[in-house]
């Protein structure tokens, strides 16, 4: 049933939100501490449990995946209701933080690549696989195995 997926998602979201609020109270801040992230972990755990027990039905999947696929439209709606007029005054922050973050991350991709040694490139992998395919395969003359 589709509703079981939607309900599972709702329960995970509520539990995550509750735990986030509780954590906030415990830590003495007026904030929801990581509630969305906690809810996501619940959902991942629930999916694993359902798969192990073989009760991950198509309907259940549909119920959750519908909302997952709705994520970008909802983010667009979220963007459309922000106080952008006030934010525009802080415009340079956007440009500097955006460019800075990307530049630093690009540099780190290069650094991690250098430090972790050389690996096969995509072209080399494909060339090797193509060679393996082209090479004559012994013992299978009739196409039957054994």
């Amino acid at each position: 049933m589709t509703i079981s997926g939607v309900a599972l998602l709702a329960i995970c979201t509520l539990l995550g939100g509750l735990l986030g609020d509780l954590l906030g109270v415990a830590l003495g801040v007026k904030a929801n501490v990581g509630g969305v992230g906690i809810a996501m972990m619940f959902l991942i755990a629930a999916r694993l449990w359902l798969m192990r027990h073989g009760i991950l039905s198509h309907g259940l999947k549909t119920g959750v995946e519908f909302w997952g696929s709705f994520y970008i439209p909802i983010v667009v709606a979220m963007a459309a209701q922000q106080n952008v007029v006030a934010a525009a005054k802080g415009g340079p922050v956007v440009v500097i933080a955006g460019i800075g973050a990307v530049a630093v991350c690009f540099a780190m991709v290069a650094l991690i690549g250098r430090f972790s040694g050389r690996v096969e490139t995509m072209d080399e992998i494909e060339a090797r696989e193509a060679e393996a395919l082209a090479a004559p395969v012994p013992h299978f003359k009739s196409g039957r195995i054994g």
């Binding site: 998602l9 106080n83 990307v102």
Partner: protein
């Protein structure tokens, strides 16, 4: 005309679905015909959303973008914290733990760095522009991680709407630079094998930015980059409004 606006206002949420749908179609067409697929339709749609919010704010003098227009009040519900968190949590359903193991240690390191480093940078930039409270600093820092982590964090810790709008814009801007810039720096940063693609996905985050950028570089690398990038938002939503927020609070003394 009054009948039309009555119908729209009476079915506020349905109107919002239609309006956002139309916006997504327009964005899809712009992405395909004007940028030749270089810039992902979703990034264009979010930018259009922000532009509309700017126009809505100017024409109504309100603080809630287009949601201040009576006919489009449903946008406020559709993009509000309730449905937003619901949909973001749902995306975790596609995370496959078996696949996660494939990315291994190097993927995890990239993910951790990809969350913390942009955050610190964002916090410093925000501080340089005169923000002093822990909530604003954390929210803008989180926006430099991704455009989802920013508003989720901002809503959780109680940042103001202009600051949340700034964090979304920062994240979207980052995603767009990744989409456009990746093909140009690909060779320089060694982006020609599955492992560096996974590192790239973990560091850059935004799935739309990573998949768009890798597709323009080498289509075969997309699944590897997306594999680590899918964890990025979840990790960010977990640590930004918690550990990172407390770290900022401890430093600012708020």
């Amino acid at each position: 005309m009054t009948m039309m606006s009555h119908i729209l206002a009476a079915n506020a949420l349905i109107t919002a679905f239609a309006a956002v749908g139309i916006l997504m179609w327009i964005s899809g067409a712009i992405s395909k015909h004007l940028t030749f697929g270089r810039i992902h339709a979703s990034a264009i749609a979010i930018m259009l959303g922000l532009a509309l919010a700017f126009w809505g704010g100017i024409s109504t003098g309100g603080e809630k973008g287009v949601a201040d227009l009576p006919a489009l009040a449903g946008i406020g519900l559709m993009g509000g914290a309730m449905l937003r968190d619901f949909a973001i949590v749902a995306t975790a359903f596609e995370v496959d733990v078996v696949h996660a193991r494939k990315a291994g240690v190097i993927g995890a390191i990239a993910l951790g760095l990809g969350t913390v480093v942009p955050f610190i940078l964002g916090v410093f930039v925000a501080a340089a522009f005169g923000y002093t409270d822990a909530e604003s600093l954390t929210t803008i820092g989180a926006g430099a991680v991704t455009y989802i982590v920013g508003p989720v964090t901002g809503a959780a810790i109680g940042a103001s709407s202009p600051v949340i709008a700034l964090s979304i814009a920062t994240g979207v801007f980052k995603a767009v630079i990744v989409m456009i810039g990746t093909p140009f720096v690909a060779k320089m940063i060694g982006l020609n094998n599955p492992r560096s693609a996974m590192v790239f996905g973990g560091l850059m985050g935004t799935v739309s930015g990573v998949s768009g950028g890798l597709a323009a570089t080498d289509r075969r690398l997309v699944p590897y980059g997306a594999l680590t990038a899918t964890f990025h938002t979840g990790l960010g939503c977990l640590v930004a409004p918690s550990i990172l927020y407390f770290a900022v609070r401890a430093i600012t003394g708020g």
